[in-house]
Amino acid sequence: MQKNEAKKSNENFFMNLVRQQMFIPILAVLLLAVFNLIADPSFFKITLGYNSAGNPVLSGFLITILDSGSELAILAIGMTLVTAASGGQDISVGAAVAIAGSVILRVLCGGNSRPEKLAAPIIVAFLVSCIVAMLFGAFNGVLVAYFKIQPMIATLILYTAGRSIAAWINNNELPVISDEKFTYFGEFIPGIPIPTPFFIAVACIIIIFLVLKFTNLGLYTQAVGINESSSRLNGLNPAFIKVMSFVVLGLCVAVVGLIKVSRVSTINYSVIAKDIEMDAILAVALGGNALSGGKFNMAASIVGAYVIQFLTTTLYKFNVQSDALPAYKAVVVIVLVVISAPTVRDWFSNLTKKLKVKEVA
């Protein structure tokens, strides 16, 4: 009897654990970590060295994950909100990052593609790109909220046109910034061996959690995503809230744009942030958030973003060609989507019920 009860409470504990939204991303981290530990423990090696400027920098695969995963984490914040409110995803973030980056360079260069001195302070350039990116976000949002176009279709427009717009902003030239300070945002600040994007991501994460705590952003976006009609009868303006979620994503895009162009001090319109939208969407899904909108868990999305980067880096480590990466990620997507599909969940719950009945019998 006692044994049975103990078993039951164990079972309950296990079931609760499985039901936690964080379960899937954390399980994924553990699996990847164990895999790397067995396959090649050197994956976890971190070395302290000096970069070309003579500054101390940490390097290693884990640092790469922290570095590149931070871009994804920032985008995942915005993508989570868009997903929750509109029940769809923005596939134009990569192209929008190109635009944001291009705007920064344009303002810094002021028309001269090889400036000796910056034409404007970096903060001004960044603010201008924030405004531009938020306007493009609002454009997507208006198409979705007021014209009721499916988010993926609406953002397909900017997905297609974005990189051309980015090139057009700089007259199709490739400006190069020679000011060393500009590299601080995407690489290292002298004397600090941890890559700056990580700090930027931490700042963004703190900001979003403060916003979620001290405003009704979370309640409103979830209510609109779950039941638009009911939200309206409770005095909300669903269309406006959807547009705002896209605008917030625009802000995230501008931050990532800064990091991206800062890394290389220049821009390659067709390559910058390529396919990053898929990783950002995947981060949201991996965090256990329904891609059909409604309730969301921001922390899970952010962990999801780092998990995606973990996966990517692991694949790189094992010399998977970058062209082949999407195929491997696709497998992950398929598994996730299938697991979270209602039919599969029903099937599982029926199965467990049947098993229980059998046990009793």
Binding site: F214, T215, N216, L219, N227, S230, R232, L233, N234, G235
Partner: protein, 505 residues
């Protein structure tokens, strides 16, 4: 099978979890008759039709068809079609971007090939024979709604149906279109098709039907020839009251008298929305409980929605406490201390995945503003207070509201609006589909709130409930206000004869 019968359903039972939707219902349809199926919401009409068309399986009972030996088994809409039962729904289920002919033949052709010429020619023939003003090659969406409806019927008829079910076909048609549709129905009747006609429009029933079957609470009330059942009797049957024993269950509420020098809490004149109601006037005093009554589809919900700004308001003015206010969206109404508990609890009321706590604070939170969220501890305090006050049965304040029973969901939504401390509360069918105990709780609460000075408009399909709680009733028929009853006029027979209206018997 009875003489002349084309369809017979015997002793049909159907249960859903917690609800016995059909209990031993019989239904007989004869050749060449138009048979109205009447009943208020939840009477079981649509369940019966869904059982007949194979959308639901039945728990018990048998269905017989003319010309078929023994009971027929209908497991899917396809089966129903194969045995000659066709349905045309209120919403047109054809493909608007295909041609008329394609719509007529979609899903009926065998094999991969298609003789387009023959298909178009056949369609022309059918259209002509039924006198439908359309061309075979015309794209469907370029036809008027009525013609689309007729094409849907033509498609059903052409599939050699013996039984044609028309589920609310006229609700989106204007008067002339209805005339055309009725002509088609008479034509089909003369060809021997049995037609089941489901509608909420009484005038139409008396215009076209030969026979009426009335249902209530999942049970058969009776089958009547149209001439034996005058309107008032029909209303009585639908609502479940016999005309004879209509002892007036007048409640203990007092007739409301305006105190001198007081202005109405709310006064609307010529209010109209895009939901298809005629402009109406309305007022309510402080501490008064009044109600809109009328059959389903008479426009009672649309009226209160127009007051609250839930539908798009297209005209009229609203005064709150004597001052004219602009209410075009729900937030305007909320800011003017109005609250509205909607009829469609699932679609318009609850935010299913959110917790009971979040559902309760939602409206007041929106009023407080984006930058002033209630803290978690405040939220729990509020939620626990209302959970206790209304005795909402929930595992915790964090339980998703969708996992509560209907009655408790409704109480939570009620809590949401009470927490906004409204001056004027609109309750649209607050007691629908909930258990008796909760119903009484809600009625008591309404009277208590009114005694504390709140004005309440109460809508219910159950006349008893309305008579018990309201001191004044606005009566609606066919989307118009047709009368206002108070004082001694507040009794069942008077209300029912006003609802029925236009009765010559």
């Amino acid at each position: 099978m009875k003489d002349n019968a084309v369809l017979e359903m015997r002793n049909i039972h159907k249960s859903f979890p917690g609800v016995r939707a059909l209990q031993g219902v019989d239904f007989t349809l004869r050749k060449g008759e138009v048979h109205a199926l009447m009943g208020e919401n939840g009477a079981g009409k649509s369940t019966l039709i869904k059982v007949l068309t194979g959308v639901y399986g039945k728990d018990e009972g048998e269905i017989f068809l003319d010309g078929v030996e023994g009971p027929v088994a209908i497991h899917s809409p396809q089966d129903a079609q194969n045995v000659g039962i066709s349905t045309v729904y209120q919403e047109i289920t054809l493909c608007p971007n295909l041609s008329v002919a394609e719509n007529m033949f979609i899903g009926r052709t065998k094999g991969m090939g298609q003789n387009w010429k023959k298909m178009n020619a056949d369609t022309e023939k059918i259209l002509k024979s039924l006198d439908i003003p359309a061309i075979a090659t015309q794209q469907l969406e370029t036809c008027s709604i009525a013609v689309q409806q007729m094409i849907a019927i033509a498609r059903a008829v052409d599939m050699d149906c013996k039984v044609l079910i028309l589920d609310e076909p006229t609700s989106s048609l204007d008067e002339q279109e209805v005339v055309k549709l009725f002509k088609l129905m008479r034509d089909l009747r003369s060809r021997g098709v049995g037609i089941v006609f489901v509608t909420h429009f009484m005038d139409q029933v008396y215009e076209i039907c030969d026979r009426i079957t009335v249902m209530r609470d999942g049970q058969l009330v009776g089958e009547y020839a149209i001439k034996d059942l005058p309107r008032v009797k029909l209303v009585a049957k639908m609502l479940g009251k016999e005309m004879d024993d209509m002892a007036d269950i007048k409640g203990d509420q007092k007739e409301y008298e305006r105190k001198p020098g007081m202005v109405p809490v709310l006064e609307a004149s010529n209010r109209v929305s895009d939901a298809g109601i005629k402009p109406f006037n309305f007022h309510i005093e402080k501490g008064e409980v009044n109600g809109f009554t009328g059959l389903l589809g008479s426009g009672r919900s649309e009226c209160v929605r127009a007051l609250f700004g839930a539908d798009r308001v297209t005209g009229g003015t609203v005064k709150m406490n004597g001052k004219e206010v602009k209410i075009t969206k729900p937030l305007d109404a909320m800011k003017n201390k109005m609250a509205y508990l909607p009829e469609d609890r699932k679609g318009d009321g609850i935010v299913g995945d959110l917790s009971v706590r979040e559902n309760i604070i939602l409206a007041q939170q929106v009023l407080r503003g984006f930058f002033k969220p209630f803290s978690k501890s405040e939220q729990y305090k509020i939620a626990d207070e209302y959970i206790k006050l209304l005795s909402i049965k929930t595992a915790s304040a964090d339980t998703p509201i969708k996992s509560l029973s209907g009655g408790n969901q409704q109480k939570a939504i009620l809590a949401r609006w009470l927490f906004t401390h409204p001056e004027y509360l609109i309750l649209d069918e607050p007691t629908r589909g909930i258990d008796v105990g909760t119903k009484v709780d809600i009625q008591k609460l309404v009277l208590k709130l009114a005694s504390e000075g709140m004005s309440v408009t109460f809508i219910s399909s159950e006349l008893d409930e309305m008579l018990r709680t309201c001191s004044r009733l606005v009566v609606m028929r066919d989307r118009k206000v047709v009368g206002e009853l108070s004082g001694d006029d507040l009794n069942q027979s008077k209300v029912m004869s006003t609802i029925a209206g236009g009765d010559k018997k």
